[in-house]
Symmetry: C2
DNA sequence: CTAAATTGATTGCAATTGCAACTAAACAAT
DNA sequence: ATTGTTTAGTTGCAATTGCAATCAATTTAG
């Protein structure tokens, strides 16, 4: 609750912001340079590929990729237009729709991962040794829990 | 150059992404709830307030806040429409323009900082002790340097 | 059972972003 | 001086986002 920010914490915050945008820009640039779609597409394809039956309800995708419902609808539209997934009627809940990854979607996922993984290594992981990586993940994890007072 | 990502590094990366968006969303929500402008406005106001004469060339702002030129032009337009800064003709370079922060801009900066600082503490800094904060800043700093092979 | 409330997904619309021109001024080089 | 190049800033346009409203289906409650 104390609204006081030490200089060290303030600095950490600023470096965090800068690091995030520069790393993301590098990775997005690498994808674009390889004429591959943006990371948001990867996220959806990845979630689907991990899902039972390689399909998932739209609202679950939204939650998994931290996107609003409406943005998910449209993102899924784009992937569908590109043939990377199809929509499937949901038996049992007639409101609902599944997104199902296609073979093209799976191969796109792989092609993107080649570039994406290299980017993560180059711009991010390279700068952390194994124990730092573990510690780092732990810290980031704390920030995603419900806030207290 | 080794394009191999360990499980620990991969996890760290994912937590990084999630932490960033959740923390940012919280802070933006807090600002919006206080009927304050988004963080992008704060960044510009802050840069100006730190600048000699409280003014800065547009391309310098762009660089400082990691934004493209065109987006900076339009962001500055919005702040100008809101009366938080003014444009000033640049003597010595007739192409150029300064953005100069106004008194309203300065007071907006302060009002935003109240909410922003609380957000940084609540969603970010709270989760780091002093030594972690220093270590964290150091790591983030490595990621913003020029990449090597 | 029926009305009210909730949930899943989509749509409209305004605001923001990204990218590629474009204009004008400065700089460089012959 | 004259041409070519770079730099500053802006603009057009298409794509993406954010938010509120909408519609239909499901669940809840009386």
């Amino acid at each position: 609750m104390s609204p006081y920010l030490s200089a060290a914490h303030n600095l950490a915050w600023r470096k965090f912001l800068v690091a995030y945008v520069t790393v993301m820009e590098h990775i997005e640039q690498d994808l674009a340079a390889a004429t591959l779609p943006p990371l948001s597409w990867y996220d959806v394809l990845f979630v689907l590929s991990e899902s039972p039956g390689q399909k998932r309800r739209l609202h679950e995708i939204a939650e998994a990729v931290l996107l609003s419902r409406s943005n998910t609808t449209r993102l899924v539209n784009r992937l569908e237009s590109a043939g990377l997934l199809t929509r499937e009627q949901c038996s049992g809940d007639r409101r609902g729709a599944f997104a199902v990854i296609t073979d093209d979607g799976l191969s796109m996922l792989e092609r993107m991962w080649v570039v994406y993984e290299a980017g993560i290594v180059n711009y991010f992981a390279q700068h952390l040794d194994a124990s730092e990586a573990k510690q780092f993940a732990k810290i980031m994890n704390r920030m995603t829990s419900i806030r207290d007072s």
